[in-house]
């Protein structure tokens, strides 16, 4: 039922970014991924979402081998993600940005849309309804019609999450979503993450704010220099001497 990386290795030229790393994200669970800069967190996220291919090891989703699947194929299977630096479509409205998350659900093709066949209208209405509800949910009600490049940083981050949720994903991979947020906004983020998990979505939370990760996650994996050094519940990981050494020494 899970999204799993098994013994994945990734090299860039002479540099080994990840070495035989395994990680499993269960639906309905928040899985935190922490580690110092350069430990390979984002590389692992890129491997899971399909932007990179591993040099060794496999990626499975619900028992299906997706190691060779493209980003779009994984999106179809139910993988959504956000980005370390928010990537929005600046000339479109917040609503449009959220609606594009529903691309795969739109059934009308190019010609059907051009000729305004009924399916196109149905797609549009459902995607709009879905996007609006999600935008209200993440707290962007006041900005629905606003152009996306007029958003402030926290709003951009939450918009990316709404867009990811519009994909009706089974798993959502968050790449340092708390970066640049105030403590109050981080609290809101925590609430949103817990709701996602409670609604059945599997969440991978890649983050620097270790306190936040321990607070919000069900399980935590710690990376250092491309290898897993500890995996377990937040309590276990927090107390692990290797983890403490890596963070205090870093």
């Amino acid at each position: 039922m899970s999204l799993t990386a098994r013994d994945v290795t990734k090299r860039f030229g002479g540099l080994t970014a990840l070495s035989r790393v395994s990680l499993e994200i269960m639906p309905g669970e928040v899985h935190g991924l922490i580690g110092p800069n350069g430990s390979g967190k984002t590389t692992l996220l890129n491997l899971l979402s399909g932007y990179y291919r591993p040099d060794a090891g496999t990626i499975h989703m619900v028992q299906q081998d997706i190691t060779g699947a493209s980003v779009q194929q994984r999106a179809r299977l139910g993988v959504a993600r956000t980005f370390q630096k928010p990537r929005l479509l600046p000339t479109l409205s917040v609503l449009d940005n959220a609606m594009i998350g529903g691309w795969l659900d739109a059934r009308a093709g190019f010609l059907a849309t051009a000729f305004m066949l009924p399916q196109a209208g149905m797609d549009e209405r459902e995607l709009r309804r879905r996007a609006e509800e999600l935008l209200h949910g993440v707290g962007l009600s006041h900005a629905i019609g606003r152009r996306a490049n007029l958003l402030e940083h926290a709003e951009q981050r939450f918009l990316e999450i709404a867009r990811g949720l519009a994909q009706r994903p089974r798993f959502i991979l968050l790449d340092e979503p708390a970066g640049g947020l105030t403590p109050a906004e981080i609290d809101y983020l925590g609430g949103v993450i817990r709701v996602m998990a409670e609604s059945g979505v599997g969440v991978l939370l890649v983050e620097h704010h270790t306190d936040f990760v321990f607070r919000v996650s069900d399980r935590v994996t710690t990376l250092d220099v491309g290898a897993v050094i500890k995996h377990g519940t937040p309590e276990q990981v927090k107390r692990d001497p290797d983890v403490i050494r890596v963070y205090l020494g870093a």
């Binding site: 779009q72 993600r81 479509l89 000729f115 999600l134 949910g137 006041h142 609604s199």
Partner: protein
Amino acid sequence: MSVSNRSWAILAVIAVLFTLPWWSGDLYKVHLAALICTYWVLISGLNLVVGYSGQLSIGHVGLLAIGAYCFAILAGTYGLHPAVAIAASGTLCALCGLVLGLPSLRLPGFYFAMATLAFALIVTEITLAQGNLTGGGVGLSVPGFPPPFDSPRGSYWLILAIAAVVTWLTWNVARHTWGRGLVAVRDSVVTAQAVGVPVFRAKLTVFVFSGFTAGLAGALFAVLQSYITPDTFVFDLGLFFFVCIIIGGRGHMLGPAIGTIVLTALPEMVAPLAKLGNFFYGLLLLVVVLLVPEGIGHVFQVLIERFRSARGERHGVKPDLERLSKAIQGGRAIK
């Protein structure tokens, strides 16, 4: 603008355009209006390629030429009915768009632009070389439309009708999911991939569609010119189409439409500009790129926004977790 206001506005515009032959004065203006509508048939399709998916095709004049020659040959040399010839021109150019787009659309921006430039030059070469078919340097004369479209007014109304249909098609694509997908391809390929947009297939689809509209436009253009030679389809014309879109604003429809009208009509009305020809278009493009790169259409949009939200804007996020939970669980596939 509320829905009914917008419908009235559209009806008003259509009425104005339809009655143009009566209020515009001389037949020359009718011909000019027909020419503008013809250009717009090509430009509205090209807009999806350049303005929405961000592929900088500067050589679409090649497709215009193919459409024009196809019509002249089928309707003239072979005597087919003009309606059949027009449809054939559109279809042939859609195929040419496929053949051109398949290898080129994978290339990075400059390479792609150069490929389209080379295409336009190759089309000119081939039309010159294949004298038996195309009349070579001498060119071909082009038959007119059948009655009742054989008068200046008649041909204007026919072209206006075709332009209206093409506008409707592209407008539909632009404001639905496809339009957003194309903008994603243009502005953030990474995002497009993440949400599942088949990037290459999307680019190719609109490119083929733009080939179809270019072919239609080519046929109509040939009739308006009544005689075509390879010199009719110089690279500068392709540049003109491209400039109309960039100046009008990428990601907009009204901007490029107004751009087409203004840039076609301006050299006709302001004689010194006609002499400057392409220098003027180049200068305009440079000024727009340096000062308002998103185009004039975008400037208007920003002004309207400023006007609308003159009151203070709220910022910040305030999640409604219950609503969020319902929204996630309520997500369903579309029947």
